[in-house]
């Protein structure tokens, strides 16, 4: 099948043998670093490869060239260097057959018109990038074809190819060497080996499996089982085919697979996709609403509650970074009806495939301002981009860290000074908490020990008091106060010897020292901060009764939606702590509450001036 070998060519320069070579090719040949230093031998190999349907770039790489810069030469240049004039393709030859060794990937998928299409496709995706990498997924049978080409060369030009198989530059590398610079010019971006923006070209070739089928006969054990497990498995993968071929000696291979590789009868197809590495943006959020769930709360396809912490935090971020997907994680979470005060709760938003990524510190600060201007229910601070590795620090705080809370409590009898002293003197009290009834349907039934490190009780009215607690992470505060049918013990009722209940709960601090603080930390100590916030909330006459739910800090993704306690909560406009955006004096204009039961003021001694907290 091979063309007659012109073994008689020996001369150099014009008119040698039966073929005519360009006069200057000898000079140019010298610039290459090939398996053989003999120009005659190289020309013989080139002519043979040409005769079996190899493209000029494949000729160069099969001749042993491994300098990237050598591949800057155009295929036309290479033809002129390696082939006699008689074999030069005429300019009217617009369509050539796909190469038998690269299936056209170094031909029609490596020329100017393809670059234009590629650049057009990338631009259409509308990413903002300054450097990029290119990835190629090649048809598996390319490995078989490369092997066939090598076996053929070794058979015909043995001496030149002994021990050279591994030194032949790959199609993938040659594509990048040849196409990287012109594509980068078109994209006006820097081409890198590793970059966060990836242009992925997936080449599919219809005959790929067919051309590998002979391996099923040689290695039935390796491939048969994969064939059986059709779903999710490719029978032939780059790894298993390459591995099988490494164990196949050349004569065996020759018997089973045509050498040199035959001309392809179908063409490769190429799909281009773009992807940007995930970007992570971290910060802390404060939540001032008692009717706001952390994730969108949907029951049977309908919104059960407007908005969510996730949406309020993420919407502006998404508009800025334009990712295709995103995920909000936080160091724990609070219930629908629990506020997150103090310095806020650390969070990370993972932005998957973001279309814009380069923002200055000032731009991120402006983004934070936009988030904070968009809502008064949630405020964000310390917003910053972080690396993937850094985000792990978020989870470190989940276990064995302490949390600080303010619980607004009610007791059936008037509290005495002795009661307050007794509570405030308690240190490291171990609670035995049965899984709360409100989460028992979806959590394992167990009794867990949790420690209340310290408490401070402050009387607000004869029957009301504010309890500031520092507890181990995972303590159920609401159950500690109301007892949950005696299922948390000791509880406040037991400690005071009188029925107790909780009307409101605020998280004051999540002790995770990450991400780094950017916004100034208030100068007062945290207790003073808590106090001034509480004063603001005191003025609210009718807080919705804490109808529910999980004050435990967990990552349970169904934590909020699955806790259906809150379905009874009438949507009460949040009029609580808006000190950052709204004059706290406005709270008296709060609309009437529509809760069917008598709601309870959290606090009564509201003689402190309303304005001027912080």
């Amino acid at each position: 099948m091979a063309a007659p070998m012109p073994m008689d060519i020996c001369g150099v320069g014009v008119g040698a043998g039966s073929f005519t070579y360009d006069e200057q090719t000898d000079l140019k040949l010298k610039e290459f670093d090939l398996f053989t230093s003999s120009h005659e031998e190289s020309r013989q190999v080139a002519l043979h490869l040409h005769s079996v349907g190899c493209c000029p770039r494949c000729i160069l790489r099969l001749l042993g060239e491994s300098h990237p810069s050598s591949y800057r030469a155009t295929p036309q240049d290479l033809e002129r260097i390696f082939l006699p004039k008689e074999k030069w393709s005429s300019s009217s030859d617009t369509h050539t057959n796909p190469c038998s060794t690269c299936l056209g990937i170094l031909q029609q998928y490596a020329d100017k018109s393809f670059f234009k299409k590629l650049a057009g496709k990338v631009k259409q995706e509308n990413f903002e990038f300054h450097d990029h990498q290119c990835s190629l997924i090649l048809p598996v049978s390319l490995i078989v074809r490369q092997k066939a080409a090598f076996v053929d060369l070794k058979r015909k030009f043995g001496d030149i190819y002994v021990g050279k198989e591994e030194r032949i530059s790959s199609v993938k590398d040659v594509w990048k060497w040849a196409c990287g610079p012109p594509v980068a010019d078109l994209l006006q971006s820097k081409f890198q080996n590793r970059a966060s923006f990836d242009i992925l070209m997936t080449f599919t070739y219809a005959d790929s499996d067919k051309e590998c089928t002979f391996l099923l006969d040689i290695y039935p054990d390796t491939f048969y089982r994969r064939k059986q497990r059709k779903f999710g498995f490719e029978t032939f993968t780059r790894a298993n085919v390459a591995n099988a071929l490494a164990y196949t000696d050349n004569s065996k291979f020759e018997d089973c697979s045509p050498c040199p590789p035959p001309l392809p009868t179908v063409e490769c197809e190429c799909t281009v996709t773009c992807n940007h590495e995930a970007v992570f943006i971290a910060g802390r959020y404060q939540k001032y609403s008692r009717v706001l769930s952390q994730t969108p709360w949907v029951i049977d396809g309908k919104r059960a509650m407007e908005g969510s912490v996730q949406e309020l935090v993420c919407d502006q971020i998404l508009q800025t970074f334009r990712p295709t997907e995103h995920r909000l994680s936080s160091s724990g979470r609070e219930d629908v009806d629990v506020r997150m005060l103090g310095l806020g709760r650390p969070f990370v938003v993972e932005l998957i495939n973001p279309h814009c990524t380069r923002f200055s510190v000032e731009e991120i600060a402006a983004l934070q301002k936009r988030i904070n201007a968009s809502t008064s229910d949630v405020q964000v601070r310390d917003l910053q981009t972080v690396s993937r590795v850094e985000t792990e620090k978020l989870k470190e705080g989940e276990i064995d860290k302490t949390k600080k809370y303010s619980a607004f409590c009610w007791c059936e009898r008037e509290l005495t000074d002795a009661d307050l002293e007794k509570l405030s003197a308690i240190k490291d009290l171990t609670l035995h908490q049965k899984t709360p009834l409100r989460v028992l349907h979806r959590r394992t039934a167990a009794t867990r020990d949790r420690v209340v490190h310290s408490m401070r009780a402050e009387k607000l009215s004869p029957n009301r008091f504010k309890l500031q607690l520092t507890t181990q992470a995972g303590t159920y505060i609401k159950e500690f106060v109301h007892g949950d049918f005696g299922r948390t013990s000791p509880n406040m009722s037991e400690l005071l010897g009188a029925e107790c209940d909780i009307t409101d709960l605020d998280v004051e601090a999540v002790d995770v020292d990450w991400p780094p603080y950017i916004d100034p930390v208030p100068a007062e100590d945290s207790e003073d901060t808590a106090k001034s916030q509480a004063v603001t909330s005191d003025t609210v006459n009718a807080e919705p009764v804490p109808d529910a739910t999980d004050c435990r800090q967990t990552q349970d993704p169904c934590g909020v939606t699955a806790t259906s306690d809150t379905v009874n909560a009438a949507p009460v406009p949040d009029v609580t702590d808006r000190r950052q955006t709204q004059d706290p004096c406005d709270v008296n204009t709060a609309p009437d509450k529509t809760i069917d039961c008598d709601v309870v003021a959290a606090n009564t001694n509201s003689t402190t001036p309303l304005c001027g907290s912080e």
Partner: protein, 179 residues
Amino acid sequence: MAETQQSTNLEKPPPGVVERYFKKHFRIDLKGKKYEDQVVLTHSNRVCVVCIAESHPICSEKKEVIKVDFEVKGSNRMDNKMSGKAKRGAQWLGPTAVLCEVTCSDESKYTLYCCVKGQLVEVNENLITKPCLLTEKPLGAGYLAVMLPGLKHFDKEIAQLMCEEKYKKALEERSTNVS
């Protein structure tokens, strides 16, 4: 405005845990025994807390409970080894299954029942050491047990119980019959 609120209704007790989170459903005259009523507190997450109703003779006659026994007819309701979120291994019991036997100081004995079909998730073991809780806090620390009906059967099971309105009517009828 805050001042007025303070003086008017601030010290009114807030609605309690039962009112906030649970609905009451009843079974009355259980097993045909007059006035032996029980109440099931149902949470919207389908957790059921089984309690004694205040109209039950133990409560209405202010009896002194001296013993609550969860060992009934050779099977111990406390022998309830379960694992995981699905509570595998929990006893599945029907509404008429015996939950416990209560002995009072006047030597009267009463049997209390599960009232709903479902998994027995826990019994209130505090009643063994402090039987007085049963009458002191019948809808609180004196609860009897926690039952969890199957996900698909919850509504059906609850529909078989008496709603609070009907229960109140039944109590009214009782008092008119007596007088």
